[in-house]
C-alpha cells in the first residue's frame, strides 16, 4: 500500500506501539526513529508526528530519556522503555493481535482461520 494513501487515523492508533517496539530493540532519538520507521516500511512519517508521541510516552512513564552529547550539534534526547513500557508494549501487542484476527475474520469470513500474527512483545518474550 502506498504510504501517501495510508489513513492517518489508522497510524495514529498504532504509532505509540511501534515506537515502543523500536525502542525495545535499541535506544534511539526522535529523528533516528523516523528513519527506522521509514526503513520498516512506514514512509512519510515525520518528526512532527513522532515527537508528540515520544513526549506523551515519556509523560506517561512508558519511556525514559537521557541527553547524549553530539559531536556535531546540540545534545540529543535518547529514549528507552521503562519496565512499565515493557508491560504496556506486551499488552498492546496482544490487543493488536486480537484486533487483527477479528478484522481478518470480518474482511474475509470464508477464509480458513489461521493463527494470529505473533504479537510484538519484548525480546525476552519473543525468545
Amino acid at each position: 500500500m502506498p504510504s501517501d494513501a495510508r489513513d492517518p487515523q489508522l497510524l495514529k492508533g498504532v504509532l505509540p506501539m511501534l515506537v515502543l517496539a523500536l525502542l525495545e530493540t535499541g535506544e534511539s532519538y526522535g529523528y533516528e526513529l523516523v528513519g527506522r520507521l521509514d526503513a520498516a516500511g512506514l514512509a512519510g512519517i515525520s518528526t512532527g508526528t513522532v515527537y508528540p508521541v515520544l513526549s506523551r510516552l515519556e509523560r506517561d512513564g512508558l519511556i525514559t530519556s537521557r541527553l547524549v552529547a553530539s559531536p556535531s550539534g546540540p545534545a540529543r534526547k535518547y529514549y528507552l522503555p521503562t519496565p512499565t513500557g515493557h508491560r504496556a508494549l506486551a499488552d498492546a501487542g496482544r490487543e493488536w493481535a486480537e484486533l487483527v484476527a477479528v478484522v481478518r475474520r470480518v474482511l474475509a469470513p470464508d477464509a480458513p482461520t489461521d493463527t494470529p500474527d505473533a504479537p510484538p512483545g519484548t525480546p525476552e518474550e519473543q525468545r
Binding site: Y31, T47, G48, T49, S55, S72, G73, P74, A75, R76
Partner: protein
C-alpha cells in the same frame, strides 16, 4: 565540538517556535515550556544533519504540531489560543478606534477655552456656527449659544446623565419678525414648535423622564435634542459669565447630574437650503403646497 547555528537558522527556529508557543496556549504552562525546549533542541540537532529548512519542514505546520501536543495533553485544541488571539485583536482595534475618536474629538473642538466659562454655571458663549464644543463637567452648568444673524442654525445636544435640557429662544428686537424654532427629538417626531413674539422668551423643555418632579424634566441617558432656528433675525449679543441670559439668542441650558457632559454641536443649517429664506427650519426647501413634515397643530403659526 558543537557548532553554533547560523543567525538565519536561529531566527527561523525562533519564529517557528514562537508560533508553536501561540498555539500551545491550550496546554498547561509548564508542559508548553517543556515542549518548546524539546523542540528547540531536537530541531537544532536535526538541522546539523539536514539543514534548518528541512528540519522545520519535517516538523510540519506549527499549528498542527502544537495541536498534536495539546491533543496529547487532553486539552481542547487551540481553544485558548483562539481566545487570546481574538481578545488581543479586539483590544488593539478598540484602542486604535478610541485613539482616532479621541483625536477627532480634540481636533474638532476649536474653542476649549470656553470650558472655563461653561463651568462657571453661567451663560457663556460656546461657539459660533460651524463649530463643535465638547463639555465635561461634574457640576450642573448652564451654557448658552448665541445665535447671531448667521442664517438658520442647528443645535444638537448629545446628553449623558442630563437631568434637564432647556432651550431658550428670545429676541430683543421688538420690531423684527418673531423668530421661530422647532424641536426635534431622537425619534423624529415634531413635538413642539415655538414662535416668539417681539421681546418674548420661551423655554423649550423636553420631557423624556416622566418620573421626575414637576419642573425637573430630564432626558435620561444618551438622548439627543435638535433645535433649529431660522436665523433670520438680529438676535444675540455675546455674553459671558453667570446670570440670566441676555435678551436675544438661542440658549441651551443643561444640568449635568454626573460625570460626563453634554456635547453641543452648533452648525449652520442654511447650507442645506439652496434658496435662503425659502426653506423650513430644517434647511429644507418649503413645499409649494404649504405642507410640512408632521407639524403638530399647536395653534401657533406654522413655520
Amino acid at each position: 565540538m558543537t557548532t553554533p547555528l547560523p543567525l538565519r537558522d536561529r531566527a527561523a527556529l525562533a519564529w517557528y517556535l514562537a508560533r508553536v508557543r501561540v498555539w500551545l496556549t491550550g496546554a498547561p504552562r509548564g508542559r508548553a515550556r517543556s515542549v518548546v525546549v524539546d523542540l528547540r533542541r531536537e530541531a537544532s540537532a536535526t538541522a546539523a544533519e539536514t539543514g534548518m529548512a528541512a528540519a522545520l519542514a519535517d516538523l510540519g505546520s506549527p499549528r498542527t504540531l502544537a495541536g498534536t501536543y495539546v491533543e496529547e495533553s487532553g486539552a481542547p485544541l487551540g481553544s485558548r489560543a483562539v481566545r487570546v488571539v481574538a481578545l488581543t485583536t479586539a483590544l488593539v482595534v478598540g484602542l486604535a478606534a478610541f485613539g482616532v475618536w479621541r483625536w477627532y474629538s480634540v481636533a474638532s473642538t476649536p474653542r476649549l477655552t470656553t470650558l472655563g466659562y461653561a463651568l462657571d454655571a453661567g451663560f457663556s458663549e460656546l461657539a459660533t456656527t460651524g463649530q463643535q464644543v465638547a463639555l465635561d463637567a461634574t457640576e450642573p452648568l448652564t451654557v448658552g449659544v448665541p445665535v447671531k444673524n448667521e442664517g438658520p442654525v442647528s443645535v444638537t445636544i448629545d446628553t449623558e446623565d442630563v437631568e434637564l435640557v432647556q432651550v431658550r429662544f428670545s429676541t430683543e428686537d421688538a420690531t423684527a419678525d418673531p423668530p421661530s424654532f422647532t424641536f426635534d427629538p431622537d425619534n423624529g417626531e415634531l413635538l413642539e414648535r415655538v414662535v416668539l413674539g417681539p421681546g418674548e422668551e420661551v423655554d423649550g423643555l423636553r420631557d423624556h423622564r416622566p418620573g421626575l418632579p414637576a419642573g425637573r424634566r430630564g432626558l435620561g441617558r444618551h438622548r439627543r435634542v435638535r433645535a433649529v432656528g431660522d436665523g433670520a433675525h438680529p438676535l444675540a449679543r455675546h455674553h459671558h459669565g453667570p446670570g440670566d441670559p441676555p435678551a436675544g439668542g438661542l440658549w441651551v441650558r443643561e444640568h449635568v447630574g454626573h460625570l460626563g457632559g453634554p456635547r453641543v454641536r452648533l452648525s449652520r443649517a442654511h447650507g442645506l437650503c439652496p434658496v435662503p429664506g425659502r426653506c423650513d427650519p430644517w434647511g429644507r426647501r418649503r413645499r409649494t403646497d404649504g405642507g410640512s413634515r408632521g407639524h403638530a397643530d399647536s395653534g401657533r403659526p406654522r413655520l
